[in-house]
Assembly symmetry: C2
Homo-oligomer: 202 residues x 2
């Protein structure tokens, strides 16, 4: 099905052009016209793939998380669950240039005000996927011990907030919060989580 | 000096009108003209106080932190340092309507892309003031024990990220992260911080 593959490729091309517009000029500059120009396509070609600016932004936002999910799926197996979960959590932090760009786009799209229902639904979905990632980390780390549902959800809320806060600070104040400090913060947090719940370490 | 007082009042009036524009229509809608209309003033009156849109946004952003600082200064004295620091930290979370609006403005201004040097300097200053607040909390909680400078800064990075992450989630996903859960996350974190450093509790 070469036609379908072309369509998917074109869609990603347009979405990453939208990322570049967001990174260079802010989310307010994204329109079918500016993204078409950035992608080197006609307005008609872009409209053929995305009927509206909102659809384009929604796809661009989901693509950030799709790429992170693909990287997480490709992570090599580590010796212990704790090491594997450290890898998973740090994959959600912008510790290299590629992920810095993606995180900037993620933060810009989240902070963009607007009552548009499609974009709100996408924001909810994307937030939920990261939240589910945090839930996986907490579940796998506390698998061997008894944890109430309330305690579990509380740990998920805390881990997700810590991750998103670190990601934002790495983008906003790279001179103040280093990649090493952010990584330490997450690794320490996961170690202490296992200690608090009395999880035996190998 | 009634003239000076009038000027200060007018400045806050204009800045809070800018907040309302940000909350209702997004930061992209802020201009001297839209803010003047929202404040019920002439464009000339606004220009008399703020020479540019950037100056207006800078002041509006500083005002968010000024108000939080004023509330923190007015906090009643608590029985223990830990309780006082819990109050200080939770004052930085959007747990009521007034602070929700302020936090939305804070996040919108931070996420707004732009290379404007005045606004960048303001963002750095505002971030630094919150970071200093977190430094105060860590210092006062670990006052009686030995902590290396590196450990201290690491705790500040972690507390600040957790606070900003919780604040963002309270604004973005209020249906998923409750005020009670956010408060618990911070209180638990501060308690565990004192436990980790072996601080005796009264």
């Amino acid at each position: 099905m070469p036609k379908l593959i072309d369509h998917a490729t074109r869609r990603e091309e347009i979405a990453t052009a939208a990322w570049r517009v967001i990174l260079q000029r802010g989310i307010g500059a994204v329109s079918v016209r500016t993204v078409a120009a950035e992608a080197g396509l006609s307005v008609g070609s872009v409209r053929h793939v995305f009927a509206s600016q909102t659809q384009l932004l929604s796809f661009a936002m989901e693509l950030v998380i799709d790429r992170a999910a693909a990287r997480i799926d490709a992570l090599p197996h580590r010796r212990t669950e704790l090491e594997s979960m450290e890898d998973l959590a740090t994959e959600l932090l912008p510790l290299d240039e590629e992920r810095r760009g993606e995180t900037e786009v993620y933060l810009a799209l989240f902070a963009a005000s607007g009552a548009d229902s499609t974009l709100s639904a996408t924001r909810a979905d994307v937030w939920g996927r990261v939240h589910a990632g945090c839930r996986t980390i907490v579940s796998r780390l506390t698998d061997a011990v008894t944890v109430t549902e309330e305690q579990h959800e509380q740990e998920v809320v805390r881990l997700h907030a810590l991750l998103d806060g670190l990601a934002a600070h790495l983008i906003w104040r790279p001179s103040e919060v280093s990649a090493a400090a952010a990584r330490t913060a997450i690794v320490d947090h996961l170690h202490e989580l296992t200690t608090r719940f009395g999880v035996a370490r190998p």
